[in-house]
């Protein structure tokens, strides 16, 4: 029995590794997913940039006023927060259909399952970069504090993408097996949006500020956002994110090694 478990674990790790190595498949499929949405449109995926710009331009002044914030500091805050939130929430929501949506492939050919997850992560990272153009534009008008912490931003984005991998595998499996989970997840993501300091700032909680520290989404936001807003490196959040990443991959690897071969039967 132990040898069988070891074999399953090896196969699970191999699936992830082989998936990552198929660098000629998942970027192509992820890019196709984006292109598909904008076929025959003149500016193509730059609609992403444009609509994000419109959203920030529309919501920034309004919510800045509602929350009694100075627009010069609130607009960069909102633009940065939202772009990260979109990345996180769409990865989570797409994760639910990672395998269900790839049914055709999974039932016909032998491809590492990780390929389907990387495809969705890559798609959302590409969308992130399109949206990020707006953040750069806002930063041009309201420059961020120039500190060394800015160098941590790419690492932060990479960390978000890495977490998308275990999340995609775990939620992809869960949702393929239990078809009610996608519904639960999408409601959950909506609620989390309001509970997480995306539109509002953690300082607004006053003495209850420590509460946001319990929210993992807050830490994921901070590792990319803090350098642009406060100029700090958000070391506590980095620590939390690192711990979550390790725990996430460990749990996923256990579940994945046990149920990897079942996915084809579930989708």
């Amino acid at each position: 029995m132990a040898s069988r478990e070891r074999r399953n674990l090896t196969l699970a790790v191999k699936d992830v590794w082989d998936g990552v190595r198929r660098i000629y498949i998942w970027p192509m499929l992820g890019w196709q997913d984006i292109k598909q949405r904008y076929r025959r449109s003149v500016i193509g995926p730059f609609w992403l940039t444009l609509s994000y710009g419109a959203m920030v331009a529309g919501m920034g002044p309004l919510y800045g006023r509602l929350l009694q914030q100075d627009i010069g500091s609130y607009l960069p805050y909102l633009a940065t927060s939202f772009v990260i939130w979109i990345l996180m929430s769409s990865i989570i929501i797409d994760a639910c259909s990672a395998f269900i949506g790839a049914e055709g492939y999974i039932k016909q050919v032998k491809l590492p399952l990780t390929v389907h997850v990387l495809r969705l992560v890559w798609k959302n990272v590409l969308i992130f970069f399109h949206n990020f153009v707006i953040v750069l534009l806002v930063m041009f008008i309201y420059p961020p504090p120039l500190t060394w912490a800015l160098l941590l931003i790419p690492a932060g984005v990479l960390m978000l993408a890495l977490n998308g991998i275990w999340l995609g595998l775990l939620f992809g499996m869960l949702c393929a097996r239990f078809r009610d989970v996608p519904q639960v997840v999408s409601s959950f993501v909506q609620i989390v949006f309001f509970l997480t300091p995306v539109m509002w700032r953690s300082e607004m909680l006053g003495r209850k500020q420590w509460l946001v520290e319990l929210n993992p989404f807050y830490h994921f936001l901070e590792i990319v956002r803090a350098p642009l807003i406060s100029g700090g490196g958000a070391m506590r959040s980095w620590l939390m994110v690192t711990l979550i990443t390790i725990a996430g991959f460990l749990v996923t690897l256990l579940v994945f090694s046990r149920y990897r071969a079942r996915v084809a039967y579930w989708v």
Binding site: Y24, Q32, G104, Q108, V109, K110, A264, Y265
Partner: protein, 246 residues
């Protein structure tokens, strides 16, 4: 080197929609299809493949026959590596080309050119392996400048020719086919068969499922008959020109 060794492989499909209660302690055998039963977790399962054991070596051209639901397609998908058997062991050496769905990976909004890469990638090729094949594929599919047009602008014949051309441009040790492939009108089909034969000729093992037993007797050198997921016959066929259409 190509070889497929299957030892008592079993494939059970869980049916999550059905309530296990209504099937409790009942074991039903349907007229066609796999055995319906209830597994240890009180779940309804369809046994699509029931303990198959066989050994395929280089030169084997195996024809799979049997009714609808006898397990032919499932067996092909197991050999393709999509379904891992629930129990038993399966060892495959050699590069596999799965021709079960010629359209897999193709996108009707993408251009013909893009689709060559999409399809061939799913067949297991790398971009640098695909690039040299493009000219040959375009020429064979007789697409001309249409190659830069979206696939949905093609006539169904052109779409079929492209899918066929890409799928048959891959060289592999083991080829899996569900029904003998054909493409387009009579004159094109002749050309298509020549191309298919060339691909099959280079392959070391062929497994083809078909309802057309006559076709299998003329093209294969082994015949495997499935019934409710069991192998009821596995015989060598008198070789005429094995692997070739007469």
């Amino acid at each position: 080197m190509a070889r497929i060794t299957a030892d008592k492989i079993v494939v059970d499909f869980p049916i999550y929609e059905a309530s296990a209660r209504s099937f409790k302690s009942a074991v039903l055998q349907t007229a066609t299809g796999g055995l319906l039963s209830v597994n240890s977790a009180h779940r309804v399962v369809v046994r699509a493949i029931n303990g198959l054991t066989f050994d395929l070596k280089e030169g084997d051209r195996v024809g799979l026959v049997g009714h609808n639901g006898s397990g032919k397609s499932t067996l092909l998908r197991v050999l393709a590596g999509a379904y891992e058997p629930v129990s038993g062991s399966l060892q495959i050496t050699g590069r596999i080309a799965s021709m079960l769905d010629l359209w897999l990976g193709m996108n009707s909004d993408a251009t013909g050119y893009e689709n060559i890469f999409l399809r061939a990638t799913i067949m297991g090729l790398r971009p640098k392996e695909i690039a040299p094949l493009v000219d040959d594929i375009c020429e064979f599919a007789e697409l001309g400048d249409y190659i830069y047009m979206p696939l949905r602008t093609y006539s169904s014949g052109m779409q079929m020719r492209l899918a066929f051309a890409v799928s048959t441009s891959v060289s592999a040790d083991i080829i899996l086919m569900d029904e003998w492939l054909s493409a387009g009108d009579a004159s094109f089909n002749e050309k298509a068969q020549t191309r298919l034969q060339r691909m099959l000729g280079n392959a070391k093992i062929l497994v083809v499922a078909s309802h057309n037993e006559q076709m299998i007797r003329t093209t294969c050198n082994k015949l495997m008959r499935l019934l409710h997921g069991n192998m009821v016959e596995f015989v060598s066929l008198p070789t005429r020109e094995a692997g070739h259409l007469s």
